[in-house]
Amino acid sequence: MTETLISTLVQDLRPIRNRAMQTRLAGAVALGALITIPYAWLLLSLAIGRPFVPLWGEGMFWMKFGYALVLGLLGLSAVPALSRPDGHIRWPFVAAGLLTLVVFGLGMARWMTNNWAMPDLMGNSALVCPWLIGLTGLPMLAALLGAMRVLAPRSPAWAGLAAGLLAGGFGALAYALFCDENGMMFIAVWYGLGIGLTTALGALLGRWLLRW
């Protein structure tokens, strides 16, 4: 019985290229990014009516962009290790938590010097911002989870969490191109929530989709 299985498997043998898993994950990130470009424009510009206004000249734009990018990269550095059965990595999540705290602290400091003015925190779009960031991150999350289904994560939930962090960071990065908010506290709270939302969604879906 086991002998038959072995023969079947041997017949099914195909060479595996070196770093095939990394290539697959990189392909998923590229696919997710490619889908996000038209998707974000359709969702945010056409459906919600946000103009595409990346405020390249403003420091706060780069703050948003950099925050989202670093969180996304931290997710990216955790995905390959957590996709293996013997993989173990925690520092990207610790670093993401610390970075969130630092940004939150900076936001509080600036808000305090501004006499706790409400617009600093709420801007004009506080209540839609996290949801839109979550929506913008969906294609990347779907591409990643799809590619990871044939992998063998030691813990499906942790692998999904890493994919969610990557997708959340990338979604926020794309969203920043359509967002004219410039309060530090706004970014700390609402961008943080939006990315956190996608990360939690990734963990939930991963727990279910990445089982093997």
Partner: protein
């Protein structure tokens, strides 16, 4: 050391298989099946020993389908151990089986696998043939195959105490004969 030798040999076979060498792959899978069978059996209670073969097959399937996740720069046995462990935990949960070994028991997968060696097995047979067949079978069941004394006793229709005494006497006789007179 046996562990390092095994790691080296299996890793060599795995690397060849990843490059498409069917003969190496067949040798690898056969070896894995032989190593995994006692590994799973030891972790299951005797009542569930029949699940071991299912687990071996599930593990081989996972090794095949997910071999992309093996990092060529890392130990092969650690990767295999992680897959076998994952399959075991999954199986135990699904079938609500009580494992006989704590799940965090990270003993190396190949370290204790002496039963796979035909020569050793023949030696055991030869040694056990010098005591009475019933005692030999009791020793074999409790000390080699992992059955409890109560189960072995039940199979021979004797009380647990009688089985214990019989095993003890048998082992003592064997020690006297083969122990080299040291103790």
């Amino acid at each position: 050391m046996q562990v390092d030798g095994t790691e080296q040999r299996l890793r060599g076979l795995m690397l060849a298989a990843l490059d498409g060498d069917a003969n190496a792959y067949r040798a690898l899978l056969s070896d894995l099946a032989r190593y995994l069978r006692p590994w799973f059996t030891r972790r299951l209670s005797p009542a569930h020993a029949s699940h071991a073969e299912d687990l071996v097959q599930e593990t081989l399937l996972a090794v095949h389908a997910r071999r992309m996740t093996y990092d060529r720069t890392r130990p092969f046995t650690a990767w295999l151990h992680a897959i076998a462990h994952h399959k075991f935990v999954d199986h135990v949960r699904r079938h609500a089986i009580r494992p006989t070994v704590p799940l965090d028991d990270d003993a190396p997968i190949f370290a204790v696998d002496d039963s796979a060696h035909a020569a050793d097995r023949r030696d055991v047979d030869a040694v056990l043939s010098t005591v009475s067949p019933r005692t030999a079978d009791l020793i074999r069941q409790t000390r080699i195959e992992g059955a409890s004394v109560a189960e072995a006793a039940a199979r021979h229709g004797m009380t647990e105490t009688a089985a214990k005494v019989s095993i003890h006497r048998g082992l003592k006789a064997l020690m006297g004969r083969f122990g080299g007179g040291g103790k």
